[in-house]
């Protein structure tokens, strides 16, 4: 604390007053630069995205090929592994497949009770 002399010019005195007032307001310790607490952003590479898409496409192609292979080896389909001159194949050709089931046994219509009952020999009661 200091006391100004009465002979001090008023302008200087006012300057002193204002300087002391404003200097007292300045923080004694100036806050440091705020640092970001966010984790550093991971760089995104286009190669990673391309790799993921390639892997997806390859898996789809593999799935399709696997389905085709399973289709060719299915029991009811073309028997590529069976020789056409084998006895089994000759027997199959001699007795062609005759469909059974729905053609000779028409389905019963349970909803329509008044529907005519099918008699194979056409013998009505």
């Amino acid at each position: 604390m200091s006391t100004l002399d009465r002979t001090t010019p008023p302008d200087e005195r006012i300057d002193q007053h204002l300087r002391v007032f404003f200097r007292a307001a300045v923080p004694a310790v100036w806050p440091g630069c705020p640092q970001s607490t966010d984790p550093p952003a991971q760089p995104k590479f286009w190669s990673a995205a391309v790799r993921r898409r390639c892997a997806l496409a390859a898996s789809i192609v593999l799935l399709f090929l696997a389905q085709m292979w399973l289709g060719t080896t299915f029991v009811g389909g073309e028997r590529s592994s069976v020789s056409p001159n084998s006895p089994t194949e000759a027997h199959r050709r001699a007795r062609p497949h005759r469909p059974v089931g729905r053609i000779n046994n028409p389905p019963l219509n349970l909803d329509d009770r008044r529907a005519p009952v099918y008699f194979p020999d056409d013998r009505r009661p």
Binding site: R6, R13, H17, L18, F22, R23, A25, P34, P40
Partner: protein, 182 residues
């Protein structure tokens, strides 16, 4: 990847440089609005946080940081009084000065508080633009050309406002017989 890391380091260095260069000016502008040092520090940091977020976003880059920072700081200072804590009222900061116990003697502290209270009244009665000039002049020790550059005013205008503010302060303080410098 190295390029990105070096870019991030460059951004950090740029931000640090801008903070070192402009943080005191931002604080001075905010302090001039409400004459509250702690609030001015908070608002100053909030201003730089917004600047950092703006730089990190993909928004248009800021070519002139100083006007941007001062504009945001003034807006934040205006909003400061609108929050609930400030609106509902609390003691003025100078009421808390004695609580910290930093003052050497109670009688000196009392004299200082009285003197500061009178100066505060005088300064608070000035226009906000004049308070900014006074803060930069006396708190930051800026010369008139520097003040004119910061506030984007002419040197003559700064001289005129500074002279007017000092004249008014002198009249008030002399009328109250305040001759001691606190």
């Amino acid at each position: 990847m190295k390029l990105r890391h070096s870019q991030a380091r460059s951004d950090d260095a740029d931000f640090q440089a801008i903070y070192d260069r402009y943080s005191r000016e931002v604080w001075a502008v905010v302090y001039a609005r409400w004459l509250q040092s702690d609030a001015a520090v908070d608002i100053m940091q909030e201003t730089f946080l917004r600047y950092w977020k703006h730089c990190r976003s993909r928004a248009e880059p800021i070519r002139e940081p100083r006007p941007w920072l001062l504009r945001v700081a003034r807006n934040l200072a205006e909003d400061y009084r609108k929050n609930a804590f400030q609106r509902n009222g609390t003691w003025e900061p100078h009421e808390f000065n004695g609580i910290a116990g930093k003052s050497p003697q109670p009688i000196d502290s009392m004299e200082q508080q009285e003197a500061f209270a009178r100066i505060r009244e005088v300064v608070a009665s000035l226009p906000a633009a004049d308070r900014e000039i006074l803060t930069l002049r006396y708190a930051m020790d800026y010369e008139v050309p520097q003040i004119a550059e910061v506030l984007d005013l002419s040197i003559a205008a700064v001289h005129m406002r500074l002279s007017r503010a000092r004249q008014k302060a002198a009249e008030t303080l002399q009328a109250e017989g305040l001759t001691k410098v606190p």
